[in-house]
Each structure stands twice: as structure tokens, then as C-alpha cells.
């Protein structure tokens, strides 16, 4: 029988790590398949790579990237604000607000995004003028031509925002529902009103549930901006297809556009990472370090080890002498 005293008290675990041979086999297979695919594209004489390099930083493409990014960000911000309103309405005690929210979500989720975009593009055909005045009288405070008031860009942003709000509303609602009822009661017992409670107590806690799916939505939105091609907003996809309709290099320009979409997707995941961290505070006992902090720590550790070695060497020398 082994008692505790007889057991090794050595802290360092020197076990031989478990081997995973199948990981290596799988990795090799993946590399071979990807290599074949890549080389077939790379060596395809129908794809002329110089066009990719020529157009990837073309001013029209860069302008398209810029517009795509702006449309994505504005639409997501507007959609998020609307979504919070819709979610609150959906959960309110007021039956009228509940019904409005329900109908909104039903309608905007139930019709194709493409149709909604075209609709906002054609609004000028439906209403020649937009007028702000007293209903059923001739008195008018403000009137403007629809097409000047809502150019394609604005119409596109409106369409994307309104549509996204319907999806995001359900995400926000799930977030609000995830908070324990005791939080609201504690807030009320401190004399906080319903609005303050929502803003300071419920919403910030919901964020950790809301942000990951909203990251998904942002990436969807980024790609959905390409649908604005149909109303001639010069975003990334429109720009690349306009160029390719001139030089007939469709595939090369699609690759250019795709590389940019991939790049923006990667860039957008950075703010998501930091937002998640921000709203995770208090959730676990200690937050994991950011990549930057980790790099710094690693550097300090390596330096520390070098220092230790030097100190140990010195000590040994002194002992010997």
C-alpha cells in the first residue's frame, strides 16, 4: 500500500505526453487537398494573376471597400438601436406596442431582403414627393423630391437597417430574457425606475449573450451590402463588377472582391473580441490576457529565465571558488 508520505512530492509532472498520430495524418490529407486545389487555380491559364495585383488597390475598388465598410457600420448601429427598441416593445406590458413589434418582425423577416432593397430604391415611383405637414390640409412644413431626399445610398442603408433590426430584435430579446429576475427586483428595491434599471443593470449584463450572435450578424451584413449593386450603390461588389464588365476579367475581379471581404471580416472580429472582454468583466474570476498582454508576459518570462540562469551560474561560480 502506498501512503501519502511515500508518494513522490516532486511538483514537476514529467509524464510523456499522449501521442496523437491521427492528427498528423488528417493534417497531411488536408494539406494535400488544399495544395491540389490551389495549384489548379494558380496554374489555370484562364486566371491571369497580374489582374488581381493590378486591381486590388485600384481607386474604384478602394472606394468600394470604403462604402461597404461605412454601409455595414451605419446599418448595424441603426439596426441595433432599433432592435433594442423592438425588443423592449415586444416585452412591454402595453399590448399595442407588443403588437407593433410583433408585426414589424413578422413583416421584415418574412419578405426577401432583395425585395426590400428594391422597394426603397423605387420609393420615388411610389411617392414623388415626401412632405411633412398637417394631415388632411394643404399646410406643409417641408416638402422634397423623394429621389433627392433618399438617394440610392440612403435607401440602401435604410433597407439593410430595417431588415437587420428584425433579426437583431430577437437576439436582444434573448439577451434580456437571459437575466435572472432577481436583478430587476434588486434594482427596483433600490428605488431605480424601469428605464434606469434596463440601461444600467439589465442591458449591460445581456451584452455577453447578445454580442457573439451580433458579430455573426455584422459579417452577414458586410456581405449583404453587395445586394446594393441592384440599386447601383458603388460598393465593393458593384465596383468590381463594373470594372470587369469593361475588361471581361470577371473571375479575377471576383477574387479581388473576395479577398477584401475576407480582410474586412477579419478586421471586424477585433472590436468584437474587445467588446466581449469588456462585457465579460465580473463574470469569471480573472479575465484571460489579451494577445498583446500575453506577448508581453511571454517576453518578460523569457527574460526572467535568462536572468535566473545568469544568477544561478554566478552562484555556482562562487561556490566553486
Amino acid at each position: 500500500m502506498i501512503t501519502d508520505v511515500e508518494r513522490s512530492t516532486d511538483d514537476d509532472v514529467v509524464a510523456i505526453p499522449l501521442r496523437h498520430p491521427w492528427r498528423w495524418v488528417a493534417a497531411a490529407a488536408v494539406i494535400v487537398v488544399l495544395g491540389l486545389l490551389f495549384s489548379s487555380l494558380w496554374n489555370n491559364e484562364n486566371i491571369q494573376k497580374q489582374y488581381i495585383w493590378q486591381f486590388i488597390f485600384d481607386p474604384r475598388i478602394l472606394k468600394g471597400v470604403w462604402i461597404t465598410l461605412i454601409v455595414t457600420i451605419i446599418s448595424m448601429v441603426v439596426a441595433t438601436i432599433l432592435a433594442i427598441l423592438l425588443a423592449i416593445m415586444r416585452m412591454s406590458a402595453n399590448p399595442v406596442l407588443r403588437a407593433v413589434s410583433f408585426l414589424y418582425i413578422w413583416f421584415f423577416r418574412g419578405t426577401p431582403l432583395l425585395v426590400q432593397i428594391v422597394f426603397w430604391g423605387y420609393l420615388g415611383l411610389l411617392y414623388k414627393q415626401i412632405e411633412l405637414g398637417v394631415p388632411f390640409t394643404d399646410f406643409s412644413i417641408f416638402a422634397a423630391d423623394t429621389n433627392t431626399l433618399i438617394p440610392a445610398f440612403v435607401g440602401g442603408v435604410i433597407a439593410l437597417s430595417l431588415n437587420e433590426a428584425a433579426y437583431a430584435a430577437e437576439i436582444v430579446r434573448a439577451g434580456l430574457l437571459s437575466i435572472d429576475h432577481g436583478q430587476r427586483e434588486a434594482a427596483y428595491s433600490l428605488g431605480m425606475g424601469p428605464g434606469y434599471t434596463l440601461r444600467r443593470i439589465i442591458l449591460p449584463q445581456s451584452m455577453k449573450v447578445i454580442i457573439p450572435p451580433m458579430g455573426n450578424e455584422t459579417i452577414s451584413m458586410l456581405k449583404n451590402t453587395s445586394l446594393l449593386a441592384i440599386v447601383a450603390v458603388p460598393e465593393l461588389y458593384t465596383a468590381s463588377s463594373q470594372i470587369s464588365s469593361g475588361n471581361l476579367r470577371q473571375v479575377e475581379l471576383l477574387i479581388v472582391a473576395s479577398l477584401w471581404y475576407l480582410f474586412i471580416t477579419s478586421v471586424l472580429s477585433v472590436p468584437q473580441y474587445y467588446l466581449e472582454r469588456h462585457y465579460a468583466r465580473g463574470n469569471s474570476r480573472a479575465l484571460p490576457p489579451t494577445p498583446l498582454q500575453q506577448a508581453k508576459r511571454e517576453l518578460a518570462r523569457i527574460r526572467g529565465r535568462a536572468d535566473n540562469r545568469r544568477i544561478a551560474a554566478k552562484a555556482r561560480e562562487e561556490m566553486n571558488s
Binding site: D180, A186, A187, R200, Q205
Partner: protein, 256 residues
């Protein structure tokens, strides 16, 4: 006893949950500075009664006055009108409540939990609120935990922060709903110590607890409730050692 000296005056309070009558005409008066211990089997309506006092639950009959103000309603002639949420919130500021499950705000530090309502609701300056918040933390023995998040605190520490949070609103009445029931036995003492000090300082308190020793020592009066009615009231010593009602006797036999 004159009206002015009463902190709580509950008259014939009734509460239904669906077809279940949970409070069957509860009447109770609590003078200023009194510590009242509320005892009774699970499901007898103790929590519901506390929650009616600060209008977390609406009542279906009777009246509750706290500090001579009707809670949740306005009296105009012989009619009563529902209050606006803002007015109810204002009434709740003078009633502190401590929950069985602490209900600290997990996204705020201990100090953040304490100073949020004084700043956001009472309009205190951040400096003032922080100064009195740190004082309160010291009073509950947690000066070193000001910047810890609730997840980093033990249950007993969380409950003491929750008490400090309620006190930060300078309430006139404190409601405790089984404040030590969710705690490991060795952590109960620290929380009871804080409550004992609070009672000594003259706070009016209603305490739902099964800590018989605490009630015997600290409470001025004990009320035994069962199935939505007040069965027996008296000095803790009398109720505990010489219960008059068979239901009180049966309950005490089961817990002691």
C-alpha cells in the same frame, strides 16, 4: 401608540396568486426602531408579505403604510389610484431590502454596487457616494474588497455587500428575506453580526429568518405566520419557549 410612531402599518393585506390566497388579511404594526422577526413554515407567505411592503408585489386588498405614506397608491377622497412607476420608485428608496440570493449586480464591483443607486437615483456626487460607500464597506468589514467583483466574493461577503448597498440609500426601514439561508454555516455569523449592529443603531427591521438564536437575542417582537395568516405574536422568548397555538408548537418542534 400614536400614528406618528409607526414605521409600518399594514391593515388587512390580502394577496392572491391566481386562485391561491397567499395572504389572508394580514394586519401588523411596527413602531419606529423595532426589530420584528417573522417566522413560519415554507410557503406561509412571509416573502410575499415583505415584497408587498415595498410594492414588488401589488396587493389585492387592504392598505400598507410605511412612514405614514400609503404604498403604491394615492388616496383621493374614498378612492385609491395606482401610482406611476416613478412615484413607486421614489417610495422604495426609503425601504431597503436584502434577498436570500444576494442579487448583487455581477457586472459591477462591490463599491460599484453600493454607489450606483445613490449617484444615479439620488443624484449624489460620485465623490460623496464613494466616500460613504467606503465607510459602509468598512462597517460591514469589507474595506479590502471594494474593487472585487461579486464572483470573487464568498456568499457571506456578497450578502454583506448587499446590506451595504441597501444602506447606501439611507433607508428608514430594512427588510431581510432569509438573508442567511443560502450561506454555508460558517459564514452565517459575519452576516448576523452586521445585522445585530444595524439593529443596535436603531434601524427599523423586519427579518424573516430561521436563526432562532438571533431572533431571541436581537428581535423585540416575533410574529408566527402560517398559511397566510398571523397565528401568534409576542416577545421572542414567549413565542419560542411558551407557544400558545398548536401550529406554532408543531412548527417549533420541527425546527428546534
Amino acid at each position: 401608540m400614536s400614528q406618528q410612531e409607526l414605521m409600518v402599518d399594514a391593515r388587512g393585506v390580502r394577496k392572491w396568486f391566481g386562485t391561491n390566497e397567499v395572504l389572508k388579511s394580514i394586519s401588523m404594526t411596527i413602531p419606529r426602531g423595532e426589530v420584528l422577526s417573522l417566522l413560519g413554515p415554507s410557503g406561509s407567505g412571509k416573502s410575499t408579505f415583505l415584497r408587498c411592503i415595498n410594492h414588488l408585489e401589488t396587493i389585492d386588498g387592504g392598505r400598507i403604510y410605511v412612514d405614514n405614506e400609503l404604498i403604491g397608491y394615492k388616496e383621493r377622497g374614498d378612492k385609491i389610484h395606482e401610482m406611476k412607476p416613478r412615484e413607486i420608485a421614489k417610495q422604495r428608496r426609503k425601504i431597503g431590502m436584502v434577498f436570500q440570493r444576494f442579487n448583487l449586480f455581477p457586472h459591477m464591483t462591490a463599491l460599484g454596487n453600493i454607489i450606483d443607486a445613490p449617484i444615479g437615483v439620488n443624484g449624489e456626487s460620485k465623490a460623496d457616494a464613494t466616500a460613504s460607500g467606503l465607510e459602509l464597506l468598512e462597517r460591514v468589514g469589507l474595506s479590502d474588497k471594494a474593487h472585487a467583483y461579486p464572483a470573487q466574493l464568498s456568499g457571506g461577503q456578497q450578502q454583506r455587500v448587499a446590506i451595504a448597498r441597501a444602506l447606501a440609500m439611507k433607508p428608514k426601514l430594512m427588510l431581510f428575506d432569509e438573508p442567511t439561508s443560502a450561506l454555508d454555516p460558517e459564514l452565517v455569523g459575519d452576516v448576523l453580526d452586521v445585522m445585530r449592529d444595524l439593529a443596535k443603531s436603531g434601524m427599523t427591521m423586519i427579518v424573516v429568518t430561521h436563526e432562532i438564536g438571533f431572533s431571541r437575542e436581537v428581535a423585540d417582537r416575533m410574529v408566527f405566520m402560517d398559511a397566510g395568516v398571523v397565528v401568534e405574536t409576542g416577545a421572542p422568548r414567549d413565542v419560542l419557549d411558551n407557544p400558545q397555538h398548536p401550529r406554532t408548537q408543531a412548527f417549533l418542534e420541527s425546527v428546534l
